[in-house]
Each structure stands twice: as structure tokens, then as C-alpha cells.
């Protein structure tokens, strides 16, 4: 049962082709999970039933970059991993978007050493940065929704040569930190 039940059988809708394409793109963002560290665990939690990334059409994790639209960089990028990440980004087909998830992927985090790249955005384009160590699943969902809003509103922002511009969005934390430990209340 869906919308079609309320419509006449032989009815039709008119719309713009761009809207139809963007509508289907925003609801079928297939992520390529580049989970190299602990943030990957939170990415898995986001895909699981409690947070259920499938509600946003982004549950089909694709381990082949050829089939993916959304690169989620979740974790530390070491000096040996970065060329792999770049290659995976290049292998993804347009249109493609990149989320840098967590402090490590965005800045290197606490790992200010010779072996950790201090932010993957120095070497690949990043659309949305999600802060946190690790970010909560709500924040990752917020990041996916930001990409959906971009697809909705502008489609692919054009650049001079017809290529996209970096979106450069930053997600704010979606929750207020409570004093720890949180007291237990029973019965309200």
C-alpha cells in the first residue's frame, strides 16, 4: 500500500527530470565504508537496527568502490593507507560524495605522529565533516541527511569545468553532554 492507492489508476504526474534523478539519488546513497579504526564500530552501529541507516536509503554497504556513491572515511588514515584511500576515491564513479567521520579522519585526532595523516581532506575532497571521537550514530545520520539536502536542493553544485565544488559542511554535535555519571531514576 502506498501513494498509488490514493491515485487514479490512469493518472500521471509531471515533474522535472532533475527532481526525479535527485530524488532517487538521495534515497539510494550506497556507502563505501572505509572503516580503519574505532569509528568504524559506530558506523556499524548506525547501520544496525537501533539507528537503522536503511531509513535513509543508505544501508547498502558496497565494498566495491565502483558500486558506491558515498565514501565514509571512518578512522585513522595512516601513511600507508592514504594511497589506498585515494585510489578508492578515484575508482568511485560520479556522482560521489565523501564524509569524513570523526576527529581522526578529519584532523588526525590525538595521533599527532609520523604515521598518521593529519586529516584526509588534505589529499582528497571532503563534503561533510562529522566531529566526535567517535561521533554518535545520530551525528552520522545527520551527516548523511546533509548530503541528502545538498542533493535535493542544488543537485551537484557546478564548478567551472562542470565539476562539483567542495561542500565543506560541518555537523554540530546533536546532543548536550550531561554530567557524568548520569543518575538513575526509576518510575519518572
Amino acid at each position: 500500500m502506498g501513494l498509488e492507492a490514493a491515485l487514479p489508476v490512469d493518472g500521471f504526474l509531471t515533474t522535472q527530470l532533475r527532481h526525479v534523478i535527485n530524488w532517487s539519488r538521495r534515497n539510494s546513497l550506497w556507502p563505501m565504508p572505509f572503516a580503519t579504526a574505532c569509528c568504524g564500530i559506530e558506523l556499524m552501529a548506525t547501520a544496525c537496527s537501533r539507528y537503522d541507516l536503511a531509513r535513509f536509503g543508505a544501508e547498502v554497504m558496497r565494498f566495491s568502490p565502483r558500486q558506491a556513491d558515498l565514501l565514509i572515511v571512518a578512522g585513522r588514515i595512516s601513511i600507508k593507507t592514504l594511497p589506498v584511500l585515494q585510489r578508492i576515491y578515484e575508482q568511485m564513479t560520479e556522482p560521489k560524495w565523501v564524509i569524513s567521520m570523526g576527529a581522526c579522519a578529519s584532523t588526525g585526532g590525538v595521533f599527532d605522529t609520523y604515521a598518521v595523516v593529519q586529516g584526509c581532506d588534505q589529499f582528497i575532497p571532503v563534503d561533510v565533516y562529522i566531529p566526535g571521537c567517535p561521533p554518535r550514530p545520530e551525528q552520522l545520520i545527520e551527516g548523511v541527511m546533509a548530503i541528502q539536502r545538498i542533493i535535493d536542493q542544488e543537485g551537484i553544485p557546478p564548478m567551472n569545468g562542470g565539476k562539483r565544488q567542495p561542500l565543506g559542511l560541518v555537523m554540530q554535535p546533536t546532543h548536550v553532554t550531561k554530567p557524568q555519571p548520569v543518575g538513575v531514576t526509576v518510575g519518572g
Binding site: 592514504l82 599527532d112 609520523y114
Partner: protein, 185 residues
Amino acid sequence: MATTPSLDHPMFKLVKDAFPGKTFRGTEFRGESTLIVEPGDLHSVLKFLKTNAACDYNFLSDIAGIDYLNYPAKTLGRFALVYNLICLARNERFFVKTSIDPSLPTDGIVNDPALVVDSVCDLWPGAEWMEREVFDMLGIRFKGHPDLRRILLWEDYPGHPLRKDYPVRGRGERESYRVVDRTSA
């Protein structure tokens, strides 16, 4: 509070009796005994500890390399190697340690003939990757190793990063990549 190490591990006496005329040192901390040998004696002592029936250390658990540069206390040398032996039959650990000093500046990757010890791959084949790791991180070479290449970093990496005179943020290795932008991909 410093306690006096109790040097009553039976291996100390066994090794001393088997190698008359050699100098050994020993130490003990919380029940774990360490035998300190000269680098030249390392291979023969380890071979004795492995093959002698009373010792029977048939498993080499780990080889750790240490750089003692700027260590607050007095040390035997700049670098040290610690061999962590296990006797599976007696479920017992024993440590053998040796110190070596470089003869050349240590900030590069030059092959220093003073930073060489004998490989123990012929005794424990599992030592192969451990020695490669020590070589990769500290630049200590192992004579007789079948395939002494870097194991974690790539072949032409310009440093041995666990040396204390290697800067913790590297020498630009983490910044020297091509930039992939939206026009090139």
C-alpha cells in the same frame, strides 16, 4: 623503592658453567629474570638455552628493540635487544638482553657496521619477522637473516622511526602525497 634483585634463577648458573671465562650480568624484577650477555655471545647463549635439555626454551615469544637515548638512568649502551624466551614444557619465561652502541650518526638510514647482531632465525624460524620489525623500527641489522627487509614501512622509507632521535611528527612523510581533487578524479 628499589629492592635487591634475587639472582637465584637456575639458568644463571647453567649458563655460567657452560661458558667459562665469559662475563655475564643478571637482573631480576618481580620474579622475571634477565640474563645480560655481550653481543658476540648472544647467538651461542641462545643456542644453549634452546638446545640444552635442562633449559629447553623451545619458543621465542618476542624480540624487542630499545633505544636508550636520553634515558634518565645509566644504561649499558645506546640500543638494547631483549629476547623473550618461553619453555612450553615448564611454562616458564626467561629474558636475554644485549646492548649495542652505534658507530655512526643515527639520524639517517646508513648501514652501521656496529649495529649488527647474529640472527637467530636458524634456532627459531619464527624470529624472521621479529628481526625484520626491529630492523625496520630501529635500524639494527641481523647477520644471517634470510630476508632482511622492512616489514611495516615501505622499502625506501627515509628513517627508523623508533629511534629516539627521529622526530615524533616525522620528517614530512605524512604530508608528501599528491592531492586528489574533484577535477582529477
